[in-house]
């Protein structure tokens, strides 16, 4: 538990809480970017350089832009004047607090975790980009191909889903 880890963890958690609680959706998206960048910094702290930079590339770069585009395309960028929470939000908060209490209790009282933490090496494991590329091309080549297929299918599917509905082009009648 070094000081940089604690600072980054606090920034990440605070930004995540802000992303989930602010009223204006654009502010939420910006707070989400901070939280995801903080997570990338946490990965770098944990000596997973490749995953940290992939996180910045994919999440801070692509997913955040996608979310901002969705916010602007659905014209929900201005602050809503009605309630932003669902009617049963108290139960949601209660259940999430219960989940955190249970997980935290389990983490703090697990003998296996304590033994592993004591026995775990403090030296950084060697995981260079070369090693990761070798593993991706040899041992994990089939999952890599499947991921490529999944990404292609998801891209085509997203375009088809977001296409204009044919019934909307000629008339303005809409379902209420």
């Amino acid at each position: 538990m070094s000081l940089p880890f604690i600072i980054i963890a606090f920034v990440t958690l605070f930004a995540a809480a802000a992303a989930m609680s602010l009223r204006n959706l654009v502010h939420c998206a910006l707070a989400l970017v901070v939280a995801l960048a903080g997570l990338a910094a946490l990965y770098l702290q944990l000596d997973a350089e490749f995953v940290g930079f992939a996180q910045i590339l994919v999440y801070v770069g692509a997913v955040a832009i996608l979310i901002v585009f969705a916010i602007l395309l659905t014209r929900s960028g201005d602050s809503p004047n009605q309630a932003v929470l669902t009617p049963g939000w108290g139960w949601g908060i209660f259940i999430s607090m219960f989940v955190f209490t249970a997980l935290g209790w389990a983490v703090l009282n697990s003998g296996v975790l304590r033994a592993q933490g004591a026995a775990g090496s403090s030296a950084a494991p060697a995981a260079t980009v070369k090693d990761i590329g070798k593993a991706l091309m040899e041992q994990y080549v089939l999952p890599l191909e499947v991921i490529g297929l999944l990404l292609t299918a998801a891209m085509i599917g997203a375009v088809i889903i977001a296409l204009k509905e044919p019934s909307q082009i000629d008339n303005s009648g809409r379902k209420s």
Binding site: I6, T12, C28, F69, T74, S76, I93, L103, P125, G157
Partner: protein, 103 residues
């Protein structure tokens, strides 16, 4: 508290925040953002166990996180396309007002 436990606690809190947001916000995009936060909390768990667990040279945690990031990106793309399609059809992105299938 060992570093592994610190990472797991941060990830548990991040998961709880994402869950609370996903179930309690009315806007569809924010529900997706909450799901993304939960996925990221799981990724942090994988990296922490890879870093402090046994056999880090096998790269299992890193590989799982790389594939998980790819799947999460696909999920975000399809989910946001669905939000846009729902907005086109219903003229709202409020989850409580989309209830044609409600009995």
């Amino acid at each position: 508290m060992t570093p592994l436990q610190g990472c797991l606690l941060v990830s548990a809190l991040l998961f709880a925040i994402g869950f609370a947001g996903a179930v309690s916000r009315r806007h569809a995009i924010l529900a997706l953002v909450g799901i993304e936060l939960m996925l990221n909390a799981a990724n942090l768990n994988f990296i922490a166990f890879w870093r402090y667990g046994a056999h880090p040279e096998l790269l299992t945690g890193v590989m799982f996180v790389i594939f998980s990031i790819a799947v999460a990106a696909a999920e975000a793309a399809v989910g946001l396309a669905l939000v846009i399609a729902i907005y086109r059809h219903y003229k709202t992105s409020n989850l409580d007002e989309v209830k044609d299938l409600q009995g």
